[in-house]
């Protein structure tokens, strides 16, 4: 971890990982999308609408995962002042917000046939919406300062404070009786048909790799802009 804190070393490592991740990501999409949307079995209750799941569930998991990364990165930035950790946190935010929005949208699409309404004010749904606003707050706060460092640190604290929301989302279905589906994976075992798992995992893998590629790209860009900015400041004053 400490080795990665050095931007220059990170740049080298990122350059080697990135093409592999990008290739794998494309492969996962190439196989996952057709299987999920065309060849997987329809649900005995839900019919073809169940195919929304292959987008919805990975998107939901990624929404939570990105926030987790963001919180962890923010913590290590605040404690050890790792600049790269902060950059990872910062790049995770828009991606996480996008996945969260995707989860909300697909959920609403799915809710229309399943529950008869796109939206109910239910604990899981609302806590997911709160998560989306936390992302927006993080992004807005980080950009609202004249001094970028100040914005980064303030946003990092917000990310940590907001992380109390994560367990609420995760366990909301268990704590409050909810319209929403309970967990696929629980102590009691797996609750979906085995044939649904391969496409689901392919899609999860695709989303995950997509995230890795975009974060690496974004962090590299940030490292380079920071270097340029520092050099410019040096020259002017």
């Amino acid at each position: 971890m400490h080795a990665l804190a050095n931007p220059t070393r990170f740049l080298k490592l990122a350059a080697t990982i990135q093409p592999w991740a990008a290739g794998l990501c494309i492969l996962c999409f190439l196989f996952g999308l057709p299987i999920a949307l065309l060849f997987s079995p329809p649900d005995y209750q839900q019919g073809d609408t169940v195919r929304i799941m292959y987008i919805h569930v990975p998107a939901a998991w990624m929404g939570l995962f990105c926030y987790g990364v963001m919180a962890a990165g923010s913590a290590s930035y605040l404690i050890w002042r790792h600049p790269v950790a902060n950059m990872i946190a910062k790049s995770s935010a828009p991606i996480g917000a996008m996945f969260t929005a995707l989860c909300l949208l697909t959920g609403m699409l799915w809710g229309q046939p399943m529950w008869g309404t796109p939206w109910v004010w239910d604990a899981r749904l609302t806590s997911m919406l709160v998560l989306f606003f936390l992302y927006l707050g993080y992004i807005a706060l980080g950009g609202a300062f004249d001094s970028p460092e100040q914005g980064d640190k303030a946003a990092a604290i917000l990310a940590l404070v907001g992380s109390v929301n994560l367990p609420i989302i995760k366990f909301s279905v268990d704590w409050w009786n909810s319209l929403h589906q309970p967990s696929i994976f629980s102590m009691a075992g797996i609750s979906v048909d085995a044939a649904m798992l391969p496409p689901l995992f392919l899609m999860v893998g695709a989303f995950q790799l997509y995230y890795v590629v975009v974060v690496l790209m974004s962090v590299r860009a940030q490292v380079l802009t920071a270097k340029i900015r520092a050099a410019k400041l040096m020259r002017t004053t």
């Binding site: 605040l78 936390l134 706060l141 609202a144 004249d146 100040q150 404070v161």
Partner: protein, 221 residues
């Protein structure tokens, strides 16, 4: 501890210097609560149904509006620098400000709520749970709000950024606060909901002063 009371005393004196101030919080609360019957129309069935929600939402907004100045006044005139270089620990400074804020906003709101409940045609039985819920919930609002105020201190457009940062964290309190009132006035036992509200208060009290103090340090850079 003595330091704590000196700090609270100063903030109280500043906010009660002109008696108008406490009246203003109350006035804002009252006016906003009165806006809703205008916006919604006077039908008794509906007002009664949404009364608890309106009172809570208004309490959130009132708390939010008054939090705007929690640190920024001291930051503008340089007093914050002096407080942070004083022998008082930053966490203590923050805690004192939170307490003073609650005493001048949360407490009057709690005391006023039953009267406003009457104007919203809420059942008489809802007064007690409403006050209890506000009494437990409003300190949490001040605590969370202080973190937001400290985080957004050096930021541009604080007035707009604050809600964005703070309201998402207020939502759980709103849900449980309204739930506690409605459940009780429907004749059920809302003990669990009050316990959750109390839990929020404890967690917030344990975390927020530290988070706000850390945020303040950043803002002063």
């Amino acid at each position: 501890m003595n330091t704590f009371f000196i700090l609270v005393g100063r903030d109280l004196r500043l906010s009660v210097r002109h008696r108008a101030d406490t009246v203003m919080v109350a006035g804002f609360f009252a006016i906003t609560v009165i806006l809703f019957p205008f916006g919604i129309g006077p039908e008794p069935g509906i007002l009664e149904r949404v009364g608890a929600g309106i009172i809570w939402v208004t309490a959130l907004l009132a708390s939010l509006l008054s939090l705007d100045h929690l640190f920024s006044d001291d930051e503008q005139d340089g007093a914050l620098d002096l407080l942070l270089t004083s022998p008082a620990a930053p966490t203590l400074v923050v805690a004192a400000k939170i307490v003073a804020h609650w005493l001048t906003t949360g407490l009057p709101l709690t005391l006023l709520a039953p009267i406003l409940g009457v104007t919203l045609q809420m059942p008489v039985g809802s007064a007690a749970p409403m006050m209890t819920a506000l009494l437990i919930g409003t300190p949490t609002l001040s605590l969370i709000g202080a973190v937001g105020a400290a985080l957004t201190l050096g930021a541009r457009r604080r007035g707009i950024l604050m809600p964005l940062v703070v309201l998402p964290l207020y939502i759980p309190i709103l849900i449980f606060g309204v739930g506690a009132i409605d459940t009780t006035s429907m004749g059920f036992d809302a003990g669990g909901l009050f316990t959750v509200l109390g839990g929020f208060l404890l967690i917030a009290a344990a975390l927020c002063p530290w988070a706000a103090a850390a945020a303040l340090k950043i803002a002063s850079e």
